[in-house]
Symmetry: C3
Subunit: 353 residues, 3 copies
């Protein structure tokens, strides 16, 4: 694509832009400012990397409208450079195309499984009885799909994904390697110092357009459903407890953990290593800070931080005071000395009068 | 089962109960208060859900003896509703029954492996030389059992479980999908700025009646054994370091991490995302709070919290004071002002006298 | 080996030592002080275990030069007992020798894959098109190596390791079971309340002599490379975000998490459950404490602790003051009372004068 074509393309995507430079330059790929070579386009979205504009070998850079042209670099100025470069990456590189296995002879597929058109099933896969899947199913090697699972259209399971029985998965869902869905939760009744297992007879429901990272674990519910809402995206190593219900369009960063019976609203962001205790609710559009320990309900539209998690302003105030503690302690000591002096003075006055 | 039969059944389980309602009503399943339909029985164990009693469609509800009958709902009153509903779930639903593979032709089983009666081995499984297993072994697809592993009776390995060589597993043990046992721990000797690997020549011993969640990792010991005691239950994504010894009947919530050479007593509870440094001891019946960072020995029968973890009362006191810090800072300022006033006053008096 | 031979062997390893005891005693194995039996040698490196010297059944013990001979125990005194016992473990026990599968007929290997000499490929393995590997490759059962991956010599992949496409791995690299490398990172552009996937077109580069623990996840970069430097060692359940670059000879303990675009220097230590936010830098030889939450750049050679992480001295000072907060609060109350008394006294004086 020539730079002028890129400007045209962005315009068709609803992202008007302005070219400062040579529209005839040819672009083959997207790359970072640091790694780009001639023939590649890059972008500046995080001001942290601004100084790399001076050294980049990219043939052009997508920047925000605030950014002024300088030193001969070809620039495409647009409102949201990150959204623009995303559109360009999809256009120039596309998404991953899986190997084409057809239905591998080394896969083990139960007779009662019903797979839709264009199923692409790798070797060493096990698909159990009564599984039903829509069209364009891709299952990478080593996956296990348990009895009675139901999958929508355009589902991709990367290697070694495990779905226990009766997990339902929507359409356009991607699950990364090693993730386990539907295992039993930690359900035991304490009886005379022993833990007696409670059968976990519920199931898991994954909505449409969900993407789950690698090596996550999502417990089946004890009763009823554990749910992940449509459009929600998980990073890696995330644990979701039994019976927890997560709304649509959430974004969970790596190593987040939710106990059981948590209710998470829509478009909630949870940063890395955050944790949530059981039986509480997190409102719509809430943001949970990294490493936060959430032990109470979180109101919609709020940001919480800390352990235990409190609203961000409170957390910052607490933290600011903690940093001043050594100073406060010194001031306390000074006061004690002053009082001692005052008392001595008063005693002297008293003696003198 | 009719409600009257349920009361009889609970009585045979050592859980006397009282029926307030119609003993002829037929019950087919257990469900939550929220999801139950007619023909299903539910329960109330957590007061948080008490208001759902008014809206539930369940045909009957198991409640505690404190709970008074009202508004025509069929109630079974008993001392421990959670234990009662557990017994009912086992009676009405039973535990998971695995697919029956016999010994799959797509499994790879070494000639010297000795499997007991009724082995049920799925496709794509690898069982190595000199493995010995008791009766009723179930191995789901994709598992790997390393050379010389010894397994008791009634063991179930869910898909993609990996046991490195010489792991011993007791009877009635369940290991969920993706869990790895017996990998090398982080054992290196620092030599001139490099990390020189120390052979990890120990092994792992899992006791009887243990259940391990999904995607956990339990290191083999450098020397001797890493141990998980009988009756202990793990949730998911738990890391256990080399040489750590965990006693019987413990309960570990998701994402707990223990470093190496930790000694954990019996019936210890560790809440989610808690961590323990190496070479310390945790006493019997101790409870480690969620996200706690344990850096010192924990006495038996105590509960610790915080980072670093301290006894719960101390942690709560610290936290309460931290919340009051902005107020304390204001009081400190007030005192400084008062002292200043007093000194001015004294100086005036002094001048006046 | 006889004890006298052990002393000779250590000497050849550049670890001069002194034998206090009987050089003719025969040693077959290394073991812990607690578990050792006659014929075994043990060691004392951590003073915590010193009392076990009195009860050990080991035939000899490697100790530091500070340690004085006593009670008839055969001792080998040397400067670094831990390094010495490591050398002895390698000499007496060696490293794990994998099963010999040759190239299993139950493996699935693409026609265009090029494997070097002595490839040892277990059953249920998938090696994709255009994979290139050096000599002595060992791949345990259930692994998946994606299209275009390039591996050096002497690489070992334990069971169920997953390498997505175009991951490059150096020589003498070991990856433990269940680890996933090259999955897509959490890359989405927010568009009208939805998350639009950004193609992750970068790759992952693992250096030479790297060891990665079990069930880790290392994201491929959005653009360019995610890197793990030569000689770096990971424990288990570690998450590395897209585009993060980790230098050589680092040591990461279990459950550490790094967000994307982090730059980690050489020989950095990260203790268990530590976390690092995106787009920051950690200098050479820095140490990140257990559970630390790093949100700012960390200077080379420094140790940080806490959430948010601060230099260790500051963290300790803060923590010491927090522990004294209840006492400070009491002192504040005392001061308030004293001031009240003083004011009363002054008022009385004033009235009296």
């Amino acid at each position: 694509m020539h730079l002028s074509q890129i400007v045209d393309f962005l315009s068709t995507q609803g992202m008007p832009s302005e070219l400062c430079g040579d529209g005839d330059i040819r672009i083959d790929a997207v790359n970072t400012l640091e790694d780009a070579r001639p023939g590649e386009i890059s972008f500046l979205a995080n001001p942290r990397y601004e100084r790399q504009l001076k050294t980049t070998k990219a043939s052009a850079v997508v920047v925000s409208r605030k950014h002024r042209p300088s030193n001969g670099l070809n620039l495409i100025r647009t409102e949201d450079p990150y959204a623009a470069i995303t559109a360009l990456m999809v256009r120039l590189h596309g998404h991953r195309r899986p190997p084409q296995w057809g239905i591998s002879e080394q896969a083990s597929i139960a007779g009662s499984a019903l797979l839709g058109e264009n199923a692409n099933i790798g070797p060493h896969v096990t698909i159990s009885e009564r599984v039903i899947a829509g069209q364009n199913l891709t299952v990478y090697p080593g996956c296990y799909i348990g009895p009675g699972c139901v999958l929508g259209d355009d589902v991709t399971l990367y290697p070694s994904v495990v779905l226990y029985e009766q997990v339902t998965v929507g359409s356009r869902v991607t699950i990364h390697a090693g993730t386990v869905i539907g295992e039993d939760g930690l359900g035991y009744a304490p009886v005379k110092g022993k833990w007696v297992k409670i059968p976990q007879i519920g199931w898991v429901e994954i909505g449409d357009d969900v993407e789950i990272g690698a090596n996550c674990t999502i417990d089946r519910a004890t009763l009823g459903a554990t749910q992940v809402g449509s459009g929600t995206k998980f990073s890696n190593l995330i644990a979701v407890g039994h019976g927890t219900k997560i709304g649509p369009d959430c974004l969970f960063v790596a190593q987040v953990g939710l106990a059981g019976s948590v209710n998470v609203g829509k478009h909630v962001t949870m940063a890395g290593q955050a944790g949530v205790v059981g039986h509480i609710a997190i409102g719509d559009n809430a943001t949970i800070g990294a490493k936060a320990g959430v032990i109470n309900n979180v109101e919609a539209e709020t940001t919480v931080l800390g352990q235990p998690a409190v609203p961000i302003n409170e957390a910052k105030r607490q933290y600011a005071v903690i940093q001043r503690l050594p100073e406060m302690r010194q001031r306390l000591r000074d006061l004690e000395n002053e009082i001692r002096e005052l008392k001595k003075l008063l005693a002297e006055q008293d003696g003198a009068s």
